[in-house]
């Protein structure tokens, strides 16, 4: 609001330049937009070319003849159905379970009094500083066949499974902080009223707090889902068969298989990217808000 007023006031001061200024601004923004968007354009147009045109130099800007059947060809050259089922199952499960653990923990941190809260919260904060690289090798050993020993116990033996891609990711300190921040903003009067009505913590969380927190839940869920959908390094090292491999690892393998069939690789890239881009376009408001909120607070 304040911004709008300021700008209205500001305009007369620059009355000499607004048109030139606005054109220059748009010029900069458009040039960057073209550079940013070009790879997407190139991907989609190449996916619709035939094999000869895809390799033509200089590349044609638009396909001379559209070949939508490339998508079917690409789909049939690798077990894409399986890859997608795997990724969707893993991403959805991780997202749902992670939201549950995050809400419970965030609620405890935001609205309950208990011994050890400060210490535990500090430990959670500290885990945010541990990069994934530090834990990669021990986690790999932990998942290795159970005849190996992990701290004196048998290892989990989870290579080539869904749980290896799900269980380690169903709690994240990041989501807990995001939800905690939101829960803190819920007025105390509501919890007081709920307590008078005889509602316990779980009841209050379920019927009052969660319905109020839907925007925050969507934000946290989207960030988790995006990370899970694009996960690459971990599934690359803990899966070896298509039965459990996600789309990203499948696409990486398909780059070798497709070889010079570049139009097919572009078609495959398009259908790997499309779902997450569409999801982002539908829900971008929440994702952008979440990043702004977790990134910086004034």
């Amino acid at each position: 609001m304040a911004r709008a007023i300021t700008l209205e006031r500001g305009v007369p001061r620059f009355s000499m330049r607004p048109r030139v200024g606005a054109i220059a601004k748009h010029a900069v923004l458009i040039v960057v937009a073209v550079v940013v968007a070009y790879p997407f354009y190139f991907m989609i147009t190449s996916s619709l070319k035939d094999v000869l045109e895809a390799a033509r130099t200089p590349p044609t800007i638009f396909p001379t003849e559209l070949h939508p059947e490339n998508y079917g060809d690409a789909w049939n050259r690798a077990p894409w159905g399986r890859y997608f089922v795997n990724t969707i199952f893993v991403s959805v499960t991780v997202t749902v379970l992670e939201l549950i653990t995050a809400c419970l923990a965030a609620y405890a941190f935001a609205r309950m009094r208990f011994r050890g809260k400060g210490v535990l919260f500090t430990i959670f904060l500290a885990t945010l500083m541990i990069p994934a690289e530090a834990t990669l090798i021990p986690n790999y050993v932990l998942m290795s066949p159970s005849r190996n020993a992990c701290l004196g116990l048998p290892c989990l033996g989870w290579f080539d499974s869904y749980q290896v891609q799900i269980v380690p990711f169903i709690a994240s300190a990041f989501s807990i902080f995001l939800m905690r921040q939101f829960f803190l903003s819920i007025p105390n009067e509501l919890s007081d009223a709920a307590r008078i009505d005889g509602a316990g913590h779980l009841r209050f969380l379920w019927s009052i707090v969660l319905p109020l927190s839907i925007p925050a839940l969507i934000t946290a869920g989207l960030i988790t889902f995006l990370g899970s959908w694009n996960a690459f390094q971990w599934p690359l090292i803990v899966t070896s068969r298509p039965d459990f491999r996600p789309v990203q690892v499948g696409l990486s393998a398909f780059r070798q298989e497709a070889g010079s069939s570049y139009h097919l690789l572009m078609a495959a890239s398009t259908f790997v990217v499309a779902p997450i881009v569409i999801l982002f376009l539908v829900a971008q408001r929440y994702l952008v808000q979440g990043i702004a909120r977790t990134g910086i607070r004034g």
Partner: protein, 332 residues
């Protein structure tokens, strides 16, 4: 009225039920504590433990800090790889982060003002961030293909010879000099390989939208009163930018700097899918060296030691960030 009296009484009551609430709170926290404990905290400690042993798939003899000294100076096989990878990693940071920040800041500043199609631009800039590096690499490897790629077609239009891009191990300054027929007097002047620079550019492309969003959030945190006061005093738009926006935005700028640096320091996907360390190992970063040592040569002890060194570098960035920014930045 009644509402003012009763809550005071109710608020007092948790003190009496303290132990029960503690038990309940710990039950609420149990799933998160268990998962983060088992898959994050214990492995982080275990990584340090493993780094102290000769550990090729199975645990071997205790080596103390032997794995570390191997990387740092002791092993003629390992330490050249380490220092080269470390230098490659920092070069990757240097060629990515400042460019990324400068472009993101300018675009955020432009987008912050009221203008047409603002949302459209922002959405567009953000798309690469949701696109996986695997898919992006499939496209960029083709865009920069030496024979068929449009990158060389564009160079051809302006009369510059084709480049090998992601397959070019020669340094960029060396390439530039040789284009003018000059031979560089010393090998270290060659600069990072063209492949590494292209890798940086793709990384900038990927993270740009994310940083614009953070800069926009930072800009919206600057109180409008400063701008109004400056305008009343007759400050020009340039003065407002350099004397008000930039200084007041500095916490955000510093935050973006550390987050972006850490992001590049620990990036694996981009390197693995775009160049896989090549050509001639000129893009082999520390993360890639960890991956190869641990998962291709099955040297878990050495790999853990290397991962631990990288972790220390990353922790240093994080701690500096916490110190400098203090309470200005909060997670969550």
């Amino acid at each position: 009225m009644a509402a003012e009296v009763i809550p005071a009484k109710v608020r007092a009551s948790p003190r009496r039920r303290f132990p029960i609430e503690t038990l309940q709170a710990w039950l609420f926290l149990l799933p998160a504590v268990a998962i983060i404990g088992i898959f994050k905290v214990i492995p982080a400690i275990a990584a340090f433990y493993m780094s102290l042993f000769k550990w090729d798939v199975i645990q071997g003899a205790f080596r103390g800090l032997g794995n570390y000294t191997d990387w740092l100076y002791d092993s003629a096989l390992r330490s050249p790889d380490f220092w080269r990878a470390l230098s490659t990693t920092f070069t990757y940071v240097i060629f990515t982060v400042p460019l990324e920040m400068a472009v993101a800041l300018v675009l955020a500043y432009l987008l912050f003002q009221k203008m047409r199609a603002r949302g459209l631009y922002r959405t567009l800039y953000y798309l690469p961030y949701v696109t996986s590096f695997v898919a992006a690499a499939a496209v960029f490897v083709w865009v920069f293909n030496p024979q068929y790629g449009p990158a060389n077609a564009v160079l051809g239009l302006v009369g510059v010879g084709g480049q090998k891009w992601l397959e070019e191990p020669s340094g960029i300054f060396e390439l530039a000099a040789s284009a003018f027929g000059i031979t560089l007097p010393a090998a270290w002047l060659a600069g990072p390989s063209l492949a590494l620079v292209v890798l940086s550019l793709v990384t900038v492309w990927h993270y740009l939208g994310y940083q614009i969003v953070i800069f926009l959030a930072g800009l919206s945190n600057i109180s409008q009163e400063f701008y109004e006061a400056a305008r009343l005093d007759g400050a020009s738009e340039r003065q407002i930018f350099t004397k008000i926006t930039l200084p007041l935005l500095s916490p955000t700028t510093f935050f973006v700097f550390t987050v972006a640096s850490i992001g590049v320091l620990r990036s694996f996907d981009s390197v693995y899918v775009l160049t896989n360390g090549g050509p001639l190992d000129t893009t082999r970063t520390v993360t890639l060296l960890v991956f190869r040592t641990a998962f291709q040569q099955a040297q878990f002890g050495l790999g853990s030691a290397l991962a631990f060194i990288l972790t220390l570098v990353i922790l240093l960035f994080t701690l500096v960030q916490f110190r400098v920014l203090g309470r200005r930045v909060q997670y969550g």
